[in-house]
Structure formats: C-alpha cells, structure tokens
C-alpha cells in the first residue's frame, strides 16, 4: 500500500522474472519427473492416459531387471571409460606441453590439422576404420574400442591442455632449464604438478563424452563388448516395449555423468566451453 510507483515497477518486474525462471525450471525438469515416475511403476500400471500419476507403490524390480538386461555392458562401459580417459589425457597433456612450450616446425599448421579431427562427422571415417580394425584384428573387442576413443579424443585433450599450459609463465620453465632439467625434467617437476585442474577438466570431459558415446559403440563392437548406450538403445528399441525398463535403463545410464556434473559442474562447464576452440 505504501509502495511508490517506482517500487511497484521493480516489484512486478522481479516477480515476472522469478515466475519465468520457475516456469523454465519446470519445463526442464518435467521429463525427469516422468522418467522417475515411470521407472517406479509396476508394468501393469503403466498406461498412456495415466502416465503422469505417481505409482501406487514403488516398484524397484525394474532396476534389477535392467541390470540383468544390461549384463556385461555396464562393466564394458566402465572399463572403456577408464582406459580411454586415462590414455587420452596423458597423451593430451604431453601434446599440450609440447605445443605450448616448445618450438615445433610447422606447428601453426599441425595444430589446426589436429583439431579438425574433433569436428569431422565420424561417419566419414567409419568404413575405413572398420576395415582397418578388421585388418589388425582389433575389430569387435574392447581394446579396439579403447584405441578408437583414445585417438579421436586426442584433439580435444590436446586443445584443453595446450590452452591451460599457455598460462604457465615461461620464466618458471626457464628457471628449471637453468637448473639442468631437460624436456622430461621440466614436465615432471614444473608442468605436471601445476596440471591438476587441467587434468580434472579433461578427465571429466572425456569421461562424460566416452560414457555417452553411441556411434562407435554400435558399429565397432560385437555383442559382448558393447557399451551401455547400445544396451539402452536395444532396451528401448523394440516395438511393444514396457516403458518401465527403458526408463530405469535411462536412469542407470545417465547417473554416472550426471553425478559428475552435479559434483564438479564448474570443471564440466570449462570443458564444455573449451570445445568452441579459441586457438
């Protein structure tokens, strides 16, 4: 009652602002509600008309069934992600160190040529890749899939580490060099100890990307080496699906990267924004 017109205007704009934000939040979270509700329903209880209602009693069995249906795929994904993430971040760190702190003949051309590899549609190399993996006897298995993810992960890991190392002052390296440190000495004594945040960003990024990847998973593996995304696509792909299973499967497949995102979101966003280059 005692508001001045100016306060009134401010009050209404703030209200509109928060209402808009809350509406958008609901829109973004709506699918999550439906997924959780559906995954907790007894299959007999699921029908289209009542899709939004809560389950009468939570039915946890779907999760057990999904874990059985996924079988070795969950373990495959874990092994794949650990192997490929560790290897590609080590390589990326060394590449980034070389490209940011050492003179390399033709680096102005080599680095963009490396980066181009992260933008190509992987469909373009899929058939030669298939042929090559078959030729060296790594087609269909987990080691082959790890190799593929390491190689195609090199551009982004190199980019993130390079941009990270550019900020380390050259004087620190020169001081170590004067003390007699060589290429590896400088890396282990100066660069690597400062790399922890860089490694966190790269590991998180590679972890989520490789965990979520589907194209290589579905084309380069035989049945027993498939990752979890392929398992989920199969679970949801059939015609007469009972929807509790795909929804429980989606939750299990989404949980690891989602947890990482919620706990370490700041680093995730840095990886995300690094993808838009800035050479």
């Amino acid at each position: 009652m005692a508001y001045t017109p100016r306060q009134w205007r401010r009050y209404t704009t703030r209200t509109i602002l928060y209402v808009a934000l809350i509406v958008m939040t609901l829109v973004f979270l709506l699918p999550i509600y439906l997924v959780v509700v559906t995954s907790l329903k007894n299959p007999a209880e699921i029908n289209l008309a009542t899709a939004w209602s809560l389950p009468s009693t939570p039915y946890w069995q779907s999760f057990q069934e999904v874990l059985v249906a996924f079988g070795p795929r969950l373990r495959n994904s874990v092994a794949l992600v650990i192997g490929a993430t560790v290897l590609s971040s080590i390589f990326g760190s060394i590449n980034g160190y070389v490209l940011s702190k050492w003179r390399i003949p033709g680096e102005k051309i080599l680095f963009p040529l490396m980066l181009f590899g992260m933008f190509i549609p992987y469909q373009a190399i899929l058939i030669p890749l298939f042929d090559f993996m078959r030729g060296i006897g790594l087609y269909g298995g987990l080691p082959g899939l790890i190799l593929i993810h390491v190689v195609y992960g090199l551009p982004i890991t190199t980019l993130i580490f390079r941009n990270f190392y550019v900020d380390i002052p050259d004087e620190m390296l020169e001081a170590a060099a004067i003390d007699g440190a060589d290429f590896f000495g400088i890396y282990t004594n100066v660069v690597f100890p400062l790399s922890i945040p860089g490694f966190v960003v790269v590991i998180i990024w590679q972890f989520t990307q490789i965990w979520n990847e589907f194209l290589f998973g579905v084309t380069m593996t035989s049945n027993d080496a498939q990752p979890i995304t392929v398992g989920l696509a199969q679970l949801a792909g059939g015609q007469a699906v009972s929807w509790n299973l795909p929804m429980a499967g989606a939750i299990i497949a989404a949980l690891p990267p989602l947890l990482v995102y919620i706990v370490l979101g700041r680093y995730f966003i840095r990886g995300l924004l690094a993808g838009s280059v800035k050479g």
Partner: protein, 376 residues
C-alpha cells in the same frame, strides 16, 4: 627434437585415423565395394573397381534412393529450427540469469544438466514424453483441457513443401537475399568497397543460375512424379519432436556461452551506459547484444555442425528406419553396417564431411588468425 618425437605418435595416429581414412573413404565412394553384383563385400582382399562418380549420381537421382534426398531436406530443416531454438532459448535464459537472481547457481545447474546426458538417454526419455496418446499430449487434461492429438514423432504431414528441381533456384534467391541485407548494412555504414564485393558475389550467383551451371551438379530426378507422390520434399512434421528434444538438451550450452560473453562485458561499460541515461532494456539492446555477436556466430557454427552430424538422438527417438525422420548419419549406418553397401554409404559420408568442412574450416581458420593477431 625430443619435443617433436613426443608429439609424433599423436600426429601419426591422427594422420592415419583422420586424413588417411578420409582419403580412403573418398576412394571407396568412387568404387563398387558392396554394390549388388560386385564381389561379396566382407570377403578378405575383396576386389574393388573404380566407378567414378556413379554412386553420387545414383544417390542424387535414382528413385530408390529417395531416402538420401529426404535426409538432406530433413537435415536442412532440423538445422534451421534446432539452431534457432537453441539461440533463442539460450539467450533468454542467459538474460534472465543476468538479473542478480537469488539461487542463480541452482537455476544454471538445472538448465545445463541435459548437456551431461547421452543423446541416447535424451532420445529414450523424449520418445516416451512425446507418445501420441500420452506424455505431453495428456498434460492439458490435468487442468481440464482436452488432450493434444499431435503426432510429435510419428506425424506423416509435410509442411513448407517445395520441388526438388527448384532447390538451386531457392538457394540462389536465399543467398541473394542475405547478400542484399548485408549490402544494406554496409550502405548504412558507408563502406563502398564492401558493397561492391557483395554485389559482385550476388551477380555471380545469379549468372551461375541463369547460365545453367548448377544443372551439372543438381541432376534431374529419375522419376520426378513418382517421388513427389510418395516422398514429397518439405519439412516433415515428425521432426518437431526431435527438434524439441535436441533444444532441451543443447540450449543450456548456448546459455553457458552467452553468460560467459555477458560477464565479459565490463561493469564499467554498464555503469557508463547507465550514467548516459540508458535504461536496462536500452543497455542490453545497444551495449551488451552487439558485444555478443561473435558468440552468436560461434554458437551457430558449433550447433550447426552438431546438427549436420546428428545420429544417436534420431536413432533412439524414432528408430533407424523411420523414413519421416531419416538423416544422413543414420543412412551411413543402415547402408554401410546393415546392408554392407560400403560404396554408397561412403558417398553419403563424404557429402556429410564436405558439409561440415564447409563451415568448420573457415571457423578454425578465423580462430587461429585471431589468436596470432593477439600474439603480435
């Protein structure tokens, strides 16, 4: 020296896995590997013969390959609506969050979390959300309204229809229109040379069209009438569902880019504009938005190249064999890895690569030119 040796393994691997394989894919696309009548494709040491551009001609004209043409049309419309949707919603969210919001971190986390999900997860979720008789369509009944009956991912309707043979003409008109807008902007800022360049490009485009240049590439369809009746070209409404899911997943990404950009506008500049008597809206319109234009461009390129490659989302939402929502990425998979038609799949893949390279190479080039300018 040691430094170069340490880089060498990565260079060699990428050289083979990227450039070597691209060369090989181009070679395969001009061979008969996996074409019916040729030797069985999965034989070791299979013999492949050179057939020139036959595979390309086939996918561009052969009646049976209408799926490929439709996948190009789908990619065009998908890219258009997906990029526009992400930019609009991303900018809207970024502007909302720039107002000293309480709990800003929470809102940002909510808008960005879909980015952490796999496209397969998103596709599975939204396939259930967009079931014709359930999900979103039944939401209005909660407040007593009649349900929606739209078939988000299974509609068979086509809007904005056009003729395949008209595409060079339409693209020329579109290109000339864009150039005219550019010319107008240059005219307003009095840049004569730029107007001449733009006008020259427009004239060349028109001349190429009138001179029949494109008919060398845009070959007439084998059976125009039949294709019109069962595979009409236009915006397949079934794509709307895929666009919604993709925008839900990716608009947080544009939001993050815009927030980073807005935060880059210095507080002094904002303060100065307030002192000069700008109100909040004017400040955004004249101070902040112009500073965001490089981010608009980056976001358009990153999102655009994602949508040219889109595969897993459509696979999980509509299945790999849905003619209404087919995209080139899916065709490489179905033709190459199910039918073993390696040559045809390679031709499609090479066209995809070409489209992506067309926007990514200038982008990388400009990024590095900018960077070396800063160093100097």
């Amino acid at each position: 020296m040691i430094a170069f040796l340490m880089l060498l393994p990565s260079l060699a691997l990428l050289g083979l896995f990227v450039y070597g394989f691209i060369m090989q894919a181009i070679g395969t696309s001009m061979s008969d590997w996996g074409t019916s009548g040729a030797p069985p494709p999965l034989m070791m040491n299979v013999t492949k013969s050179f057939v020139g551009f036959d595979n390309y001609r086939q996918i561009m004209t052969d009646l049976l390959e209408y799926n490929f043409r439709n996948s190009l049309v789908n990619t065009f419309f998908f890219t258009l609506f997906f990029v526009a949707g992400c930019l609009a919603i991303g900018l809207f969210l970024a502007l909302l969050l720039d107002q000293n919001i309480k709990g800003e971190g929470f809102f940002r986390t909510v808008f960005l979390f879909p980015m952490a999900l796999s496209f397969v997860v998103t596709g599975t979720i939204w396939r259930w959300m967009l079931q014709p008789g359930g999900g979103i369509n039944t939401l209005p009944t909660a407040i007593g309204l009649p349900p929606i009956t739209f078939g988000w991912i299974n509609s068979r309707d086509v809007a904005l229809g056009f003729d395949w043979s008209d595409v060079p003409r339409l693209l020329t008109v579109f290109g000339v229109a864009v150039l005219c807008i550019l010319a107008l902007r240059f005219a307003l800022s009095g840049r004569r040379r730029a107007i001449l360049v733009v006008g020259g490009i427009a004239a060349v485009l028109v001349l190429l069209l009138v001179g029949g240049f494109w008919s060398n590439f845009w070959l007439p369809l084998e059976n125009d009438l039949a294709e019109k009746s069962f595979a009409p070209k236009g915006f397949n409404l079934a794509l709307i569902g895929v666009v919604i899911a993709a925008v839900w997943q990716m608009s947080g990404y544009t939001m993050a880019m815009f927030i980073a950009g807005i935060r880059g506008v210095s507080e002094e500049l904002r303060e100065a504009s307030r002192v000069d008597g700008c109100n909040e809206i004017q400040m955004y319109r004249y101070i902040i938005l112009p500073q965001l234009s490089p981010i608009f461009l980056s976001a358009m390129i990153i999102l655009g190249h994602i949508s040219l490659k889109i595969f897993d989302l459509v696979f999980a939402m509509a299945g790999p064999d849905n003619a209404q929502t087919v995209v080139p990425g899916l065709l490489v998979y179905t033709e190459g890895f199910r039918e073993n038609a390696f040559a045809k799949a390679s031709a499609i893949a090479v066209i995809m690569l070409f489209a992506v390279a067309l926007i990514i190479i200038p982008y990388l080039w400009s990024q590095f030119r900018e960077a070396s300018k800063v160093e100097r």
